[in-house]
């Protein structure tokens, strides 16, 4: 479990392993870390294999021909890649439209959240108004309300607004963000006050101070909000399942589940090709924005 047992307490002692109780104690100290190290690396290797294995299997199976995709033994490494499944998935479902829908929904939600959370976070962090703490608590309280509880009234509201079965039905309700507002407030609170004071001395009003001084400084915080929103809504399944009806408004996860339902176990590699394609943006975020995503995900826990 602990690392330090490896490096302390054993340095001076290199003597024999038999003898007095005192030396036997040292013997135990010497042997235990070695066994612990082997055990630790084994456990880590197994955990890494179990985590990556399913993803590698999905990738290599998507690169088998549809007819042999369910043959055993399975393949974990894409030797002799075959791209038939990738051509086939474009024939089975309108991949282009699904990607476009997902990109539109996710992109507009991310932009909307970045804008609204920046404004609200700034107001809570750096502007003075009556009832600030009460309003902020109210905003935070909405994080406690699961989406499943509000989905029925939201569905009816969307119908009443004449937006049912449109992409806007997915976008609009997702823009107000308690977590994003919380993050941006923290971010603005972390920025020094001196800039505002200097700008005020130069005669800048509250708007100018916000626009020209603090917005440029808050870009990293906005990136966290944007990446979190992108990751969450690109993968979202529950709301699209309820709020979209016709296939032309489906997002990627919904399209893929429908594809699996249609194809069943007929040609696994076609479905998996779709799954791999849908993972690509997440992979890009993972490679280029992992640090930002990690910071954002763990930010809520360290209030």
């Amino acid at each position: 479990m602990s690392s330090q047992t490896l490096h302390t307490g054993t340095k001076e002692h290199t003597g024999s392993t038999t003898g007095t109780p005192a030396t036997r104690k040292h013997y135990r100290n010497r042997r235990l870390p070695a066994a612990a190290t082997v055990g630790r690396y084994t456990a880590l290797a197994v955990a890494a294999a179990l985590t990556l294995g399913p993803v590698l299997w999905t990738l290599s199976t998507s690169l088998r021909t549809p007819s042999e995709s369910f043959n055993l033994p399975p393949s974990f490494l894409p030797i002799n890649p075959d791209f038939t499944a990738y051509q086939e998935v474009f024939k089975q479902i309108n991949v282009g439209l699904l990607v476009l829908n997902s990109a539109l929904v996710t992109g507009l939600i991310a932009l909307g959240q970045m804008a609204s959370a920046t404004l609200a976070g700034y107001a809570f962090a750096r502007l003075d108004f009556r009832g600030k703490n009460a309003i902020f608590s109210l905003v935070l309280a909405t994080m406690m309300v699961p989406v499943q509880v509000t989905i029925v009234p939201v569905f009816m509201l969307i119908r009443g607004m004449g937006l049912s079965d449109t992409l806007l039905a997915l976008i609009l309700p997702a823009i107000p963000t308690a977590f994003g507002t919380f993050l941006m407030r923290q971010y603005f609170l972390g920025l020094p006050n001196d800039f505002a004071e200097a700008a005020a001395l130069d005669g800048a009003g509250p708007w100018r101070i916000f626009r020209s001084v603090y917005v440029p400084l808050a870009v990293p915080g906005m990136a966290i909000v944007g990446i979190l929103a992108f990751n969450f809504h690109w993968n979202e399944f529950f709301r699209p399942l309820i709020l979209t009806i016709s296939e032309q408004n489906f997002t990627l996860p919904l399209g893929l589940v429908t594809l699996q339902g249609n194809l069943g176990t007929g040609s696994i590699s076609v479905v998996l090709a779709g799954v791999i394609l849908s993972m690509l943006p997440a992979l890009v975020v993972f490679i280029f924005g992992q640090r930002t995503l990690r910071e954002g995900l763990t930010a809520g826990a360290s209030k």
């Binding site: 235990l32 399913p54 509000t150 001395l201 009003g205 993968n235 399944f237």
Partner: protein
């Protein structure tokens, strides 16, 4: 930011009263998108849910007041009752597994190792978090297929006969837990990793000098130090597990029978398949109360058991 000025050159600042007037208006404009959006898409729906829970409504005919009948049916309807029980069992098992795996892996990563290896392992355990639960459930459903799935093929290598993963009640419940934990342990892992990395090295060294090593050091030194994180991670894991939907919906669609049906699946089905919007709202409210209770418990426990530095 407010009217407290530090410099001597008061003359360059607009009058304090005017400033705070402008600020108040600016604050209102800045808050408008978020607050109006929340009023429309969160607060109004909550009130709607509270009202709807006392009505029977199928959208087509006029709503009909039924008092507490929707809540009573929660206790009587076997599907609803089983689904809540399933959800609670799921939460207990999945959260314990998720936290146990995450904490073990995060502690193992504290050992001395090449930094590329640590970065690789951290990225690996984090990776499932960026995937969609629906996609993960799609490929896991193939992997757990009884005839040609990889899992049964691997088991056959060590002589274990094929397990009907998705067609037997107990095994399919286990699959839902495994798939969920596979995707979500990385989140708790990140929280624990952060907390463990923040422990000052001297504390471990002091513990070593006192002869507290291994498990003893972990339970007496490390665990108390990260107890605030353990609490937060547990509560976040419980809240998100209570809302499980994507995995059972795609993997088993609640079956076989009702064995993997969860509370949120019942909300979805009674609202959008049976058009029982009142009943769905009632179930949703009960779920919210559960979530609020867990959160309240967090505050209680944090005062009693958690060690803050």
């Amino acid at each position: 930011m407010t009217t407290t000025s530090t410099g001597p050159r008061h003359t360059f600042k607009p009058p304090a009263a005017r400033r705070s007037f402008v600020e108040r208006w600016l604050a209102m404009i800045f808050l408008a998108p978020t607050l109006l959006g929340m009023a429309l898409f969160t607060f109004l729906p909550i009130i709607g849910s509270l009202v709807l829970a006392f009505f029977r409504w199928d959208i087509i005919s006029a709503p009909q007041f039924v008092g507490f009948a929707n809540f009573a049916s929660l206790a009587q309807d076997p599907t609803v009752r089983v689904s809540f029980l399933n959800t609670i069992v799921f939460v207990v098992v999945a959260v314990i597994l998720q936290l146990g795996i995450a904490l073990s892996l995060a502690s193992m990563l504290q050992a001395r190792m090449p930094s590329w290896l640590r970065v690789f392992l951290r990225s690996t355990f984090f990776f499932p978090l960026v995937l969609s639960a629906a996609s993960v459930s799609i490929f896991m459903r193939y992997m757990f297929n009884e005839q040609f799935g990889v899992v049964n093929w691997l088991l056959s290598l060590v002589g274990i006969p094929a397990v009907p993963w998705l067609t037997s009640p107990a095994a399919s419940a286990a699959v839902v837990v495994l798939v969920y934990v596979w995707q979500n342990f990385g989140f708790s892992f990140l929280l624990f990793l952060g907390a463990l990395t923040n422990i000052p090295k001297e504390l471990h060294e002091a513990a070593n000098l006192d002869g507290a090593t291994g498990w003893k050091q972990f339970s007496n030194v490390t665990l108390p130090l990260i107890s605030p994180t353990v609490l937060v991670a547990s509560v976040m894991a419980i809240i998100s597990a209570l809302q499980v939907f994507d995995q059972p919906y795609v993997l088993t669609n609640g079956g076989p029978g009702d064995s993997t049906r969860t509370a949120v699946m019942v909300i979805f089905e009674s609202a959008f398949q049976q058009l029982e919007f009142g009943e769905a709202s009632a179930i949703g409210l009960v779920l919210t109360v559960l979530i609020l209770a867990v959160t309240a418990l967090q505050f209680r426990l944090s005062r009693r058991f958690v060690f803050y530095q």
